[in-house]
């Protein structure tokens, strides 16, 4: 017959996999949502191929398959760019946290030396009042 049922089955399996990932907290809802939308579109096209043919005629693409591939490509590209943005943001956050951890470590070290009596107040670099303000 045709490959459409196969495509729909593949989508169902993928949806099941994403739901499994969600349940085990290995993927955040906001990212899962993107993939659900993509899969929903594929299911619609798999169940009603006519939609694709109609769309292709409407935008003036000769071969409906090419429209499908081209749009898939664009969607995946956008998803990848979005993920790159998220990674960049995470890297910046990690950087800030690493800095704070290092600075806190140093403060603890100075405090311990002071408590042990190894150093006296003012004999080494101590945090000033600005330490309590959060730098971005």
């Amino acid at each position: 017959m045709s490959g459409y049922p196969f495509a729909v089955a593949l989508c169902v399996v993928t949806v099941g996999f994403i739901v499994y990932l969600l349940r085990t907290r290995r993927i955040r809802e906001k990212y899962a949502a993107i993939w659900f939308l993509v899969l929903a579109a594929v299911v619609v096209l798999g169940a009603f191929p006519g939609v694709l043919f109609g769309l292709a005629r409407a935008v003036g693409v000769e071969t409906p398959t090419n429209l499908l591939f081209a749009s898939s490509f664009v969607v995946l590209l956008l998803v990848c760019i979005q993920l790159s943005m998220e990674i960049s943001r995470l890297e910046e956050e990690t950087r800030t946290i690493a800095e704070e951890v290092a600075l806190l470590g140093r403060r603890i070290e100075v405090d311990e030396q002071f408590l042990r009596g190894d150093i006296r107040r003012g004999s080494t670099d101590e945090p000033t009042a600005s330490d309590n303000e959060r730098a971005t």
Binding site: R95, E99, V101, A102, L103, R106, G122, D125, T128, S130
Partner: protein, 252 residues
């Protein structure tokens, strides 16, 4: 410890920051040298996620250490250093490489240049034609191109824009503590663009570079070509980024 009152360009309490990544071999002698030459000056080693005894050798010499839990690169290590400086009341930061390439004797040169020229950032520029830094081909073009563009932008002659040997004055410390790129060439080229955009003045002063204590910078043609491309990209992006003004000083 109270933060000293200072003029806008005159640092009174400078801090030498050494970003160090796996430098257990070279670091002790550099630290000893600083101590011998400038016994009174404050020093900080930023251990950039080293896997060797970098942190340990610095501590053994009684030098304050910031231990970054992950490797952030020179730009990342330096921003941590700037934050430390700001929070401990230092009004200037001298970046000095932990591998012994920068001669601690030149720290005084940088400080004097800042005092006399009254600028926010002083770059220790390698003299043209110093043996170890004679580069050819694409790498050289990249250096030349960067110097040319940045000189025009900043309005002063810069010949060595990729030098990490820098003195940042009070205003530069405040700027760099919140805005110092961790990307490739970010700590050198882009930081100069950021400083200029924030209205800071920049000068260079000639210094001698020493050969690094260990390891050799790679100079294959392919690597040089990649360097050229990355330098061009870094500069292009830096020039198109919106300016970040210097935040007003926090009154304590």
């Amino acid at each position: 410890m109270t933060t000293p009152v200072h003029l806008d360009h005159q640092p009174v309490n400078p801090l030498i920051v050494l970003p160090a990544w796996n430098e257990q071999e070279a670091l002790p002698s550099v630290l000893q040298e600083i101590r011998t030459l400038m016994p009174g000056i404050a020093v900080l080693v930023v251990n950039d996620g080293s896997t060797d005894a970098t942190s340990h050798v610095a501590r053994r010499l009684g030098v304050p250490v910031l231990d970054l839990p992950v490797n952030l690169g020179v730009g990342g290590a330096m921003r941590a250093g700037f934050k430390y400086a700001l929070r401990t009341g230092h009004d200037a930061v001298i970046q000095l490489d932990a591998d012994g390439q920068h001669d601690p004797r030149n720290v005084e040169t940088l400080l004097q240049a800042m005092a006399s020229a009254n600028v926010d950032v002083v770059i220790g520029a390698r003299f043209a034609g110093v043996g170890a830094y004679e580069s050819r081909g694409p790498r050289r073009w990249a250096m030349r191109g960067l110097s040319f563009v940045l000189s025009r932008l900043v309005g002063t002659r810069l010949t060595d824009t990729t030098s990490g040997f820098k003195l940042s004055g009070p205003r530069a410390v405040r700027l760099f503590a919140t805005n110092y790129p961790a990307e490739y060439l970010g700590d050198t080229v882009e930081s100069l663009v950021i400083a200029h955009r924030a209205g800071l003045s920049i000068r260079q002063v000639g210094v001698e570079m020493r050969p690094r204590s260990g390891g050799q910078p790679s100079h294959s043609p392919i690597r040089s070509a990649i360097f050229l491309l990355r330098a061009g990209l870094a500069l292009g992006i830096a020039l198109t980024r919106p300016a970040t003004p210097l935040a007003p000083e926090v009154t304590r």
